[in-house]
């Protein structure tokens, strides 16, 4: 129970928010932040812990979002079933891409490139295919009933995304303390040495990719329900791929709360940028790009690295991913 206490603490803290404020602005900000935190936690498992940097996590996000939207709109499937189906669909795509990449022994930059390419292929296909609504996208009909996974107020949405984030935190924590997690980190640190110690690196990487895809897929499904609209650019565009990797890198890749804290940081920065410079498209991504360069250059272990320097050992929850080894 002890390793899960920090999660309980953080989640409890976040759970208090709707009781403290009814401001839609604050709630919306937190919902979208938690959405990114969830998508990023998926990336974090594969990239932060496993060292496999995917530049195309949108492939899973978008597949899940489209899956749940299409099932609801074209086949009348219940939205909650859609959630499950979406996660499965995204996980399946993750497994498929994983098999292709890892069977071929793709590592490092090649892996990143190929995942980017896969996301792009999906984007192009979904922008012309009739089933996704092609260029117009897919709109989920407004149906404000809990059974339809839609709510009048933002508060239930907040609870749900918080619950999903909490689940993802528990999942990652459990991984950290398991043999699977140890093997994943070993692969990140030195894949050849790992295989000499009996680790089936293909199987471990594939499992990590599938779980990672599932977590990010959950975020995709939630997005579809919260915004009720999805199109090729939103689903498979570079924006979500960048959000998913930036949040954990800023917060501390390979740490439990890295994605959550990172998401808070980048969303706050994004909002601040909008306040200062207006709503022009692109500016917040410019800031994100600069942030990425700055973090890699000055704070390679992200905010977790900062905290590790400040917070005494006993209170730390996880081993930061150490990459400053030349």
């Amino acid at each position: 129970m002890k390793p899960y206490l920090p999660i309980v603490f953080v989640v409890a803290l976040l759970a208090i928010v709707p009781f403290v404020t009814t401001s839609n602005v604050v709630l919306n900000f937190l919902v979208t932040t938690l959405l990114i935190a969830l998508a990023g936690q998926g990336w974090n498992l594969l990239g932060g812990y496993g060292g496999q940097y995917s530049f195309g996590h949108a492939a899973f996000f978008g597949t899940a979002a489209y899956a749940t939207a299409i099932l609801q709109v074209r086949y009348g499937v219940n939205a909650w079933l859609g959630l499950v189906a979406g996660i499965l669909a995204g996980a399946l795509v993750g497994a498929a891409i994983g098999v292709l990449c890892f069977r071929s022994g793709l590592r490092g930059s090649y892996f990143s490139l190929v995942t980017l390419a896969f996301a792009e292929v999906l984007r192009i296909i979904s922008s012309v295919a009739p089933i996704t609504g092609a260029g117009v996208g897919t709109l989920i009909k407004l149906d404000l009933r809990p059974e339809a996974f839609q709510f009048q107020s933002r508060v239930p949405f907040y609870w749900i995304i918080l619950a999903l984030v909490a689940l993802s935190l528990v999942a990652v924590r459990a991984t950290e303390n398991s043999r699977f997690g140890a093997y994943l980190v070993a692969i990140r640190e030195n894949e050849d040495a790992a295989s000499a110690l009996g680790i089936n690196t293909f199987a471990v990487k594939l499992a990590a990719m599938t779980i990672s895809a599932a977590i990010t897929s959950a975020a995709g499904c939630f997005y579809a329900q919260y915004f009720l609209f999805i199109d090729a650019a939103i689903a498979y565009g570079p924006r979500i791929s960048i959000d998913a990797l930036l949040a954990p890198i800023v917060g501390g890749a390979g740490t439990l709360f890295g994605s959550l804290f990172g998401a808070l940081a980048i969303k706050s920065l994004g909002e601040a940028t909008k306040l200062v410079a207006g709503d022009a498209p692109g500016l917040d991504l410019v800031v994100y790009g600069l942030l990425l360069i700055a973090v890699v250059g000055f704070l390679p272990r992200g905010m977790a690295g900062l905290m590790a320097a400040v917070v005494p050992r006993g209170f730390r929850t996880a081993l930061p991913a150490e990459r400053d080894h030349a």
């Binding site: 398991s178 640190e189 030195n190 000499a196 110690l197 009996g198």
Partner: protein, 251 residues
């Protein structure tokens, strides 16, 4: 005579135009320390990579415990009980010494706690007990070699392949390491080592194979091999071989 644990049967391997390993056959007996020696570039590390599954042979077979394991990937061999250290140490740099060893321990221990506990024990057995918390990247060369050894031991192997485990150590560090290696056979472990440090090989090995230019040119006990003309010639050249023979003739 007990059944050989490992049989290397007529193994060959080319790299482009270079025949690195040329129909090499050898047998490793259980519970013994066997050494592979030979001048630089003789093909020892290539042979090691083939035996440990990192490189497939072009011809020949590797038979372990009567099972043909040719070209099986390293992780499968590890599960069969073959462990290997690397000539250029390959630690997990971001992890502590204990965590490094625990990765190995996890092969047979599912629980994290059990693996970490076993890691502690193994660390102590190679003399790294005091450095369990240290990040692997901060170890000295000697410490890294011990870590390399500890990690391999943690998978509870029956056959341990040591690839120049003494390379880069100064004489006093070698003196400290040799008893650690010798103690391993006390537990019934079989060891195949490649080495350049002659005094260690001569004092540790019970059986030696000499490889030069990809071929086995001599085999036997340390005494046999030290006196073998072909071995002297391979290391020191034909002239030296004659001079030694002449010197021995006078003695």
């Amino acid at each position: 005579m007990p059944e050989p644990m490992l049989i290397v049967d007529s193994v060959s391997r080319r790299f482009g135009g270079l025949l690195a390993v040329d129909k090499v056959s050898l047998q490793i007996n259980p519970g013994q320390i066997t050494a592979l020696i030979g001048p630089n570039g003789a093909g020892k590390t290539t042979l090691f990579s083939i035996i440990s599954g990192f490189l497939p042979p072009d011809e020949g077979r590797i038979v372990y415990d009567r099972i043909d394991v040719t070209a099986e990937p390293p992780y499968k061999l590890a599960r069969r009980g073959i462990a290997r250290t690397f000539q250029l140490v390959q630690p997990f740099p971001g992890l502590t010494v204990r965590e490094n060893i625990a990765i190995g321990a996890h092969l047979w221990q599912r629980s994290r706690a059990a693996a970490l506990k076993l890691a502690d024990q193994v660390a102590r057995s190679v003399g790294l007990g005091a450095q369990c918390e240290a990040p692997a990247a901060t170890l000295t060369v000697a410490g890294s070699k011990r870590l390399e050894l500890a990690r391999a031991l943690a998978i509870a192997p029956r056959l341990l392949l040591l690839d120049e485990v003494l390379a880069g150590l100064n004489p006093s560090e070698i003196r400290d390491m040799v008893p650690v290696i010798r103690a391993l056979t006390g537990t019934g472990m079989t060891i195949l080592m490649t080495e350049h440090v002659m005094q260690a090989v001569m004092s540790l090995a019970e059986q030696i194979f000499v490889i030069a230019e990809g071929r086995v040119i001599a085999r036997g006990t340390p005494a046999d091999v030290a006196a073998d003309q072909r071995v002297i010639e391979a290391y020191l050249g034909r002239g030296a071989a004659h001079r030694t023979a002449a010197g021995n003739a006078h003695a």
